[in-house]
Symmetry: D3
Subunit: 336 residues, 6 copies
């Protein structure tokens, strides 16, 4: 099978242990992640051939990020070493009524200084069939947005399937352009859209209408389809926050005018929910390449449900474990 | 704003990790706390000017306790270095049907050897407006009770608001006086009483009457008000133990013949419930100095609800986080 | 009181920390356990005189296993040092919808090379009144099965009470004999049987009949009693897996044609469920030696319920803690 | 006694554990330090009244830095909360032939964005008698250099003693001015100079002449005294690197044309040498305020020698421990 | 072989990790030790039958101490559960020029409240051939001294070999009697004395005379022999502190007027030197029971040399490892 | 450049922390290594294209080993998943006079069950220029020896350079053939031999003659060259064990009748010496492909010297760091 390519920033994540607050912590766990990388990690983990495009600083931290990608079987051939620093963020893991808290420290990162022409996209996409990016990539800097659009256009021309995750982040998009203005051109060439109610309003001023959750979902998808007619499938995940460590999780997939609905999962004792949305996207890419739509949706929801039980940004579960869960094996019994 | 002063013992807490039993542990976490200090830590954390009065041994452990107080912005000017040892206790953290277990080792501590005349209370209270003590302080030793009464009388004369937490501990009060005898004189000069059903019976043989929880609470408050007419506000917290890591938590405040009731919180995945009552008292002191009664009560309950999610004796949450929770933001969603 | 003897394999358990997957782990906790040892540890913990029979390699790991047994007050006089290696297994602790996972690495272990004649059973049983073994012992190797039968026959002749736990493990029983063939002769001399629906089918092709859980339990017990008339008490535990860290737990005991039923416990926030069944058996042995049947059953269920809150294979709870739980003290309140 | 003031950047230090390389580390220890803060921590630790001037971001990391300063009894009244981020660095601790390695990530920090006028130096210096800064402060950014010069001029006018540590860092000084140009004006108003051979060449093109170490030291001091006649005392520390964990350490102090020489220490099994030079400066400030010159020099060398045995940037030793070492108690015997 | 009995206090040791100072530590390692217990642990470790006599509190800490003794194969049959608390101490591990530091917190311990009559010494010594005690036991309290003398007298009458370690601790001996007064009667019935220059002066005002180390040792032994003629062997260990983690270590044994001298060892990279003297004594007891004097002395020195490489109070080395070291295998090569 | 291929077993290494003994450890660090893999890791780390040939079990441990190889950029295309288990060993890290200790548990491993025909060597060697194996590979089992010979013969025919490390392990070679008999045929086709005095005697009964170290080295090399005329270079490393954490390290290379000698390094504070010999071999392969002989030898010695400072089996140092060391930068100064 041909390759999946993603473009995005890799961040060093410093997370507190044992639910400590940042101000209590004199040690942090360190992991490398980022939305688009997490998507690839999931896809690679299920066996797809993947290649990450990003920019890393030429130091030990950049090297460590490369080593982690190699470990997860992700290609690192198209990663310039340039710029000043690896972006990072601090994650304070909450519990019960106290939500987890993220402090970003990603300005002036190596990736934010990416410029058109640094990546030879024809070369990157030569043996590829899929390109993924997200709103975070576009929101980082003008350069990142330019390169992302450049990639989308080449990918489109070369016939790749293009997927995006809206991933609206309020603390990005501060390089002088409006988010909607930038995103419009990019999204309009995407075949697979992982959307979201809030992001659709922020980016495109699209407001879903309806009484029930189903009506709202359908309304949103229809409006997005109107706006972005190339989109073949529009997907919305739904998280219901009961508490910091107890969520409900499901998704819908809109295609050909129909709204497919997934099972809903009750997830208690959450180990790590960072990257759960990305694990959904990664599993969906795998699913859409291997199953019909309903099964692909169920696969993606179950995979991301399992992600909540896995430490770190990456979803390290087997295809079989995901399928077992879609078939009802959610009891968490001991497997010997 | 003027200072909040507290008198009490500081204990070194050795807690087991990962729910291990004491007999399984070959390492313990070490923290410095104590009911009255915890109250101050909360008040200081919300921005009040605080000063701790205690006695510490003149060794590295006493120094470490001082360093922690400084870290939390609590004054340490009035702390004699004297006596043999820092009292300590072991905390074995339970789970599910197994409750947490505490083993005290506080006899012969430096604080237990405090004597009247060691503290110049006029000096301590010079720029202060509030004095807090609890039943633990009084139960430690005759000397501690004497000094506490001494402090109460000076504080009363100098016009400070005096608050107390009944804090009945069965394993204290073994210096030859009955708890009630000692407490009567002290409580009778207090304006704010954090009472409790069981403690009221043990100290004063006061038995609440009523069918419902509300009737019982009101009855107890009325009887306490009769006995201690100076008390302006009487508060009762209510903890419902579902399991070791799942509690419900609420409180009532009785003033001017009315019983104000707080929201009730469902707290799962408890990180550390030691000091939750103290965090209530600290937040109440802050609340009563900044809000009207109902809001102060809600602030105190929400603050102590959040305390259950914070490791250690000290409640390290911001005023804004507490207010967000009182306004319904209890879903534990990720804050970026 | 006379001694309780058990025969079985001791395994070194490597468990992941903080719910990490095995592939994420660069450190493992190490503990020594095994079904029959866990039973003894419980019995010894409640004060019974216990002696373990096994085979250990003559190296530091064998020595460490002996040291742990001594720590838990279990006799180690009848343990030959022989063979190549200590069997071991890897435990990946799950959460929520992801169950825990065990990878065995126990082939060619010292215990699997045990042979008839290596143990002088007359000597072992001289001051003993109880012998316990389980289906795991029998499934390890032909030698282990031979020695187990040898032990059962001597124990039977010498008038000991013999208990067994069916403990069917699909990954054992690969030495060329069918499990049923081996087990038939052994179980037929047992007085106390901890059975199970699945194991009964696997071993003896016994299928319970009935609509309700109670009918099924009764049916199974009756059929087992028919097959093994020497059995005085047949016990079945019931685990309901809500999620990896949330189970329900109860048991029934069949004797004299009656089915006694225990309370059912809701166990959340499970710390470690490995060895919970063994802790049931160990507490049952203690219970049957100290209480009448219903109380023994309640004691065993409550003890094993508490086991879920204890790290490691061994159940380190006091008799009083178990009795408190049987009497309804399941709120997990703090004990000071 | 009057206050010691310092101006400088505070950095979050992420250090690897157990001599791991950065690329091997999935957890880092986190501490707050920085050359000028470390100087103050030492002075405060010996009992001096200290106040830090810096800029911190208005987030949890800035708050944590403040909490650490409070813990070490350093005033934090004059610290604006502004700017984007807390500067940080990674420390990989070496061993034997592999030296420790530092990766800075401090560009665009809050402190680098300090501007003249942000600090009211008259206010800061009101109750102060000493001002300390170092070449790092001046090398961070034009704004930092401007503010530093501003501070020096006010301090000079108000009669404070001014000390500096040359602290040349090749990776700073990239804001367009030459280091020498900036430093000349600043150093010319300093009374106490902690110089260095390499830094003197880099900053001022001053080259020591001589055969022996003593001659070289004397030559350097004389040339510096010629260039900066206000300097009352010029100090040079000497580190002899035997291996990453084995150094020799001594210093000389030049005053009134004489070169005082300290004892030389052999330091094996180094625990943490970061901040050792700063601990020298902090102890020297204390020493010059309490002892005559030779004793002050010995105190400073012994204090910084002990620093090599203390984890973190801060030197947590007592005055008595330092004096004991100056008097020959270097055997490391157990003190009970 | 018959049993070795010891009388002494067991202390819970809280040690800092990674050379942190106590004031830096928020976690401590916890181990159970004590001079006389450490002696027994060594003897038991080499295969001797041992029994500890002490008093422990009736709580989880007392139980944990018992569990550790069982683990090391030491009898715990004669240990009353009584009194208030387990004595404890804090150990701050030094490095290089900073020595380790101990803070005791042992007053009012369970053992200090031992009283004559609590132990049936005839029973304890029934199957024993050796009794060991040290100056620490005698210095704890009047009761401990009384019980120790009681034990010595019974042991002497019953023909046991009695050994003592002078173990002078300046912070003990504060119950109103002079150390010498108490020790005189006790030491006078001892056959084996582990003496020391400083302790001999403190206890008995005995001052060695001589130029060389050998002359001083001989002089001290002769004077001790004059004072305590029953003493058959007098032993002196010699520690040369190069730094906190680098010591030299040797010993002499005086018997029949001759001074036997051991090899001297150079011990670098010390892991834990607490209990090294006790491990010498334990190995000496083993040695004197198995070898002639010179070999016993070499065995004891080599064993305690190895102790410096073992974490904790207990010396966990095999007889073979000790013998290999006495025969020159000190290169620390890898053994496969 | 063409690929380097190695054949050998991968072992899971469980190492104790903080110099604990195995019997004290309740947690172990886990890493994947093995002599031939370690060689490749070094070569890959310096930038060579590498491919590992081995057999791994089809479970999470096998997967984890693959992930580690990918992380270090080693190809894993030719690794059958077969057999029962991953071999493992326990490493107890010594200190001072106590050497490190290894307990192997590798019998019946997946690799030991390798059989001729399982690997298509023509395919493996297609783009390769170098093949490395060691005496460990040959000593594991008859199958491993057969496959190793098979590989050597194909490699020889295809013109690859073949290197071997004698690596004699006394605890292997128990499958019924003498080591010498097996090794003779294999070594006779090798171009590069990392020999050793002890191994040469064990394998081939070759005894070096001479007075000085140089004469002995030369004699050994000459005799080996006589026996194995194809050998172009014969190398001997020399380790001088001062203590467990202090070694001296050097090597000689014999070629064209000349004996080249390397610098000798003094290595104190050793972090991890396991794999140091393998890191020498890996660096030598790199060196011989990039430098002339003397420089290659110095490169290999310096690289393996640095390895002693790196945790784990793998040598994670840069080419530049090695070259700096060969040029005398051994002071361990801080690099900023």
């Amino acid at each position: 099978m041909k390759k999946v390519i993603a473009l995005g920033e890799i961040l060093l994540r410093f997370s507190t242990t044992d639910h400590l607050r940042i101000s209590q912590s004199n040690a942090f766990n360190a992991d490398y992640g980022g939305s688009e990388l997490n998507v690839l990690t999931s896809a690679a983990n299920f066996g797809m051939d993947c290649e990450m495009v990003t920019v890393l600083p030429n130091n030990d931290l950049g090297m460590a990020a490369v080593m982690q990608m190699r470990k997860f079987n992700i290609g690192t051939k198209f990663i310039p070493k340039a710029g000043e620093r690896l972006g990072l963020y601090f994650l304070e893991k909450g519990a019960s009524v106290r939500g987890s808290k993220i402090i970003y420290d990603r300005t002036h990162s190596s990736f934010s200084q990416i410029k058109p022409g640094m990546i030879n996209w024809e070369d990157v996409f030569k043996e590829a069939s899929w390109f993924h990016w997200s709103g975070i990539t576009a929101g980082v800097s003008q350069g990142a947005a330019d390169v992302c659009l450049e990639a989308i256009e080449v990918a489109y021309k070369m016939g790749l399937t293009i997927s995006t995750d809206f991933n609206y982040r309020a603390n990005l998009w501060n390089y002088g352009k409006s988010a909607g203005e930038i995103m419009e051109a990019m999204v309009s060439k995407c075949h697979i859209i992982l959307a979201g109610d809030y992001a659709s309003r922020q980016y495109f001023n699209i407001h879903a209408k309806g009484e029930s959750k189903d009506e709202l979902n359908k309304s949103l998808c229809e409006k997005l389809k109107d706006r972005f007619p190339i989109a073949e499938k529009i997907i919305i995940t739904h998280r219901d926050n009961i508490s910091a460590l107890h969520n409900k999780w499901s998704a819908v997939l809109y295609t050909d005018g129909k709204l497919l609905k997934s099972q809903s999962y009750d997830i208690t004792d959450i180990v790590d929910r960072i990257g759960a949305g990305d694990s959904f996207m990664g599993a969906l890419i795998y699913g859409l390449n291997h199953f019909e739509d309903q099964k692909a949706l169920e696969f993606a929801v179950a995979a991301s449900c399992l992600k909540h039980t896995i430490y770190g940004d990456a979803n390290l579960v087997t295809t079989q474990e995901v399928i077992d869960l879609t078939q009802g094996d959610s009891t968490g019994r001991v497997r010997r």
